[in-house]
């Protein structure tokens, strides 16, 4: 959503014979928008008409002496229908301040790199429509993680927790390669782990979790969900499932979850995280119950 996309439109339109003389509402809005950008004083009027979006972005840069004190910067970004939070910060970076730093890549909620704290809630920047947010839109880095620069947080701890649950398929009875045999999963079992496999490692859940904020050793919702995906996979043997449950049932494992539902609430992929954690709690209890 940058001006590069708007330019061809405004150049082509006057050449269009049918459109000559008459001005479409879209062109009029576009013209107003461009005038608004040139004229600083028109900013407030344009905003009142819903043409620009006021965003407040958290800024911090340890490498510049004047920016070591965290602050909020205001940007007035011209609004386009369908504009997301990520589009707005990208516009602010491209047009107003090239030093504005944030992670982003795919822009379609797949890579999981642009989780921000928007108006007090963890969201994926590329999946959040500006039109649904109250203005000014406050954009901050994910809470409970160290800020490296602007909206970029240190994800090392999150990745450590993710790796702690051994997030990879393990099976001692791997079929012989010469047989070229597939390891098939039943459709029912696939359905069971479907939601858990949607995780994109954005870290929104971990950042929203009150328990993870206070207990650095807690695995966190994302890691437990990852463990769920493999523990519930029928193709892994019983011993490996037990091994996984041994990791999860430790003091800082599943039992730390106090069912606040914060993670489930913020997950951009709608994974029922709390439900998965609760199911693993029950599995852990079942494993240890003995009747004799």
């Amino acid at each position: 959503m940058s001006t590069q996309q708007q330019e061809p439109e405004s150049q082509e339109s006057p050449q269009d014979p049918e459109m000559k003389g008459t001005e479409s509402p879209q062109q009029r809005r576009l013209k107003e928008k461009q005038e608004g950008m040139v004229d600083e004083h028109a900013e407030d009027e344009a905003e009142a008409a819903g043409e620009t979006v006021h965003i407040k972005v958290f800024r911090y840069d340890p490498e510049v002496a004047d920016k070591q004190e965290p602050r909020f910067d205001d940007f007035h970004v011209p609004f386009e229908k369908g504009m997301t939070v990520l589009d707005a910060v990208m516009y602010a970076r491209d047009e107003f301040d090239s030093s504005l730093t944030f992670r982003h890549s795919c822009r379609q909620a797949v890579c999981g790199s642009d989780a921000f704290f928007v108006n007090g809630s963890q969201m994926l920047g590329c999946k959040t429509q500006l039109s649904e947010l109250e203005q000014p839109v406050r954009i901050e880095p994910l809470p409970h993680q160290e800020v490296v620069k602007d909206l970029v947080v240190d994800m090392d701890h999150f990745y450590d927790q993710m790796h702690a649950v051994e997030p990879y398929f393990q099976d001692e009875e791997t079929p012989d390669a010469s047989d070229l045999e597939e390891q098939r999963q039943t459709p029912e079992n696939r359905e069971k782990i479907k939601m858990s496999s949607r995780c994109i490692w954005c870290g929104a859940c971990m950042s929203s979790c009150n328990i993870a904020a206070g207990d650095n050793e807690y695995l966190g919702p994302a890691a437990i969900n990852k463990a769920y995906k493999f523990a519930m996979d029928d193709r892994e043997s019983e011993e490996i499932k037990e091994h996984r449950l041994r990791i999860l049932e430790q003091e800082h494992g599943v039992w730390r979850c106090q069912t606040q539902f914060s993670c489930t609430e913020v997950c951009p992929k709608d994974i029922p995280l709390t439900e998965h954690i609760q199911e693993l709690k029950r599995e852990a209890v079942k494993k240890n119950l003995k009747f004799w």
Partner: protein, 143 residues
């Protein structure tokens, strides 16, 4: 990056307006739990006056000589503030019970998608029961 910035406990209590239902349920459950623990000690202290009563200790209440247990209880019940606190205690206990049932359902994996609704339901039910209890608790006490 040699340096980073720790934003501390942001999103913790200063942002209470942005809390969701599940978070409020957790906070209220903790709070009512501690209240009930606190009440437990008061309860033991008041009831232990029965030990003094069993030893034959008596006290004066409204010009009458009664045993220590009866005197303590009747003395407390005649106080308006104690009656108000009793209503509060009921509210706290009822919420803790109802939300406890909700958490039991959550633990069993029943209706997790309706967890916010069940929290609101337990709040409303607590309110109704508390209001309904007021005539009983406040009977026969003046300001």
């Amino acid at each position: 990056m040699s340096q980073s910035y720790n934003r501390g406990l942001i999103e913790d209590f200063g942002r209470w307006k942005e809390f969701s239902a599940g978070m409020w349920a957790w906070i209220f459950h903790k709070f009512t739990g501690w209240m009930l623990i606190g009440y437990l000690f008061t309860h033991i202290a008041v009831l232990s006056s029965a030990i003094a009563a069993a030893d034959g200790q008596t006290m004066m209440l409204a010009g009458e000589q009664v045993d220590a247990y009866t005197g303590t209880l009747q003395g407390l019940e005649s106080l308006f503030i104690v009656r108000v606190l009793e209503v509060g205690l009921l509210a706290v206990a009822v919420f803790h019970i109802l939300n406890g049932v909700r958490l039991l359902m959550v633990d069993l994996g029943v209706g997790l998608t309706a967890q916010d609704k069940s929290f609101y339901a337990s709040l409303v039910l607590t309110g109704v029961i508390t209001v309904a209890s007021v005539p009983t608790f406040m009977a026969g006490v003046g300001l």
